[in-house]
Symmetry: C2
Subunit: 195 residues, 2 copies
């Protein structure tokens, strides 16, 4: 095996194992040496690939957020009408809270570990950007009231983040459907009133 291949393999193994443990135990409870040992290397190897424990975590967060963004975008693209796309994307995001990886890593630990500013920047690059673009499109199409998109994006993004966290803890089978309907109601308030 060539050196570049070996390097890539070790890095990916660390990422995968780190992701598993961060999701299962939370950032603080994960010890870097154990992650390395589980992969078959030592702590030194981990520090050769990532500048710190937070660095490994950052890389994991980026990976998970990227996948989440893809998932949301894919759900949106099953529709053609922009309004339906928005709803589909939102519903897909709500469902993502059940994934412990998204829940624990992206929604719970990342803001505290990486700081809110960096977390927001990463969120922007992956999923929140899609939301902002969808809203911008709907404003330009005259579907929702003309207004600055950014406050709206933050409100909706936060609403879905928290609802996703809550859904993962609510036992009832109707919770998801109820939350989707409540979110739809909220979104309806944005549409231009023609009455």
């Amino acid at each position: 095996m060539t050196r570049a291949e070996q390097r890539a393999a070790t890095r990916q193994a660390l990422l995968t194992e780190g992701r598993r443990r961060f999701a299962a135990d939370g950032y603080h409870a994960v010890v870097l040496a154990d992650v390395a040992q589980a992969v078959g290397v030592t702590k030194g190897a981990a520090y050769h690939h990532f500048e710190s424990k937070a660095g490994l975590f950052r890389a994991v967060v980026a990976e998970v957020q990227h996948e989440l963004g893809e998932r949301v975008a894919a759900a949106a693209e099953t529709h053609t009408d922009p309004w339906d796309q928005l709803r589909a994307g939102c519903h897909a995001f709500l469902a993502a809270g059940h994934d412990p990886t998204v829940r624990r890593i992206v929604l719970l630990d990342a803001p505290a570990v990486l700081g809110w500013d960096e977390w927001r920047a990463m969120d922007e690059d992956s999923s929140a950007r899609h939301l902002a673009e969808a809203l911008t499109g709907l404003v330009e199409a005259g579907v929702i009231e003309d207004q600055p998109v950014e406050p709206l994006t933050r409100l909706l993004s936060g609403a879905m983040n928290e609802a996703a966290l809550w859904l993962a803890r609510s036992p009832g089978p109707h919770a998801l459907a109820q939350t989707e309907r409540a979110l739809d109601s909220l979104l309806l308030g944005l549409r231009v009133q023609r009455s």
Copy 2:
């Protein structure tokens, strides 16, 4: 000074100094021995009053959340109409994000340090309860569509949490007003449509 007084004084001093540092530097960067030293005692005293560093943090979170709840409730009570009360409470919450104590301690670190379940339980006791009660009242009064209140509470609570965090970072003087208007639009979607 009697023993009970001394005990209460030391405990309160630790709480106050801890609150200052947790807000300024974040949970992880605060070292317990420094908090104690700043108060004029040693680490042993801190462990006599709180079972751990997280224990002190928990007490601080409870204090800050309680004050926040009072602030929101007070803002709501300046109005008599239930709908106006809801809006006033929401607006007060949005403004609270500028307080670094609320921002850093309650919104950023608390969920990660105490865990989401405990954070949610504490949030429920202080501020979210008011929101749920207001929404329940509006449902019973027939102002907003009949629906389960809990998903709605989570959506709105999350929306305001995130928006409050964002507002503390957005420079423009119009951001708060814009967010308030966007939130009002969302809330309007909940009202029974009579057309």
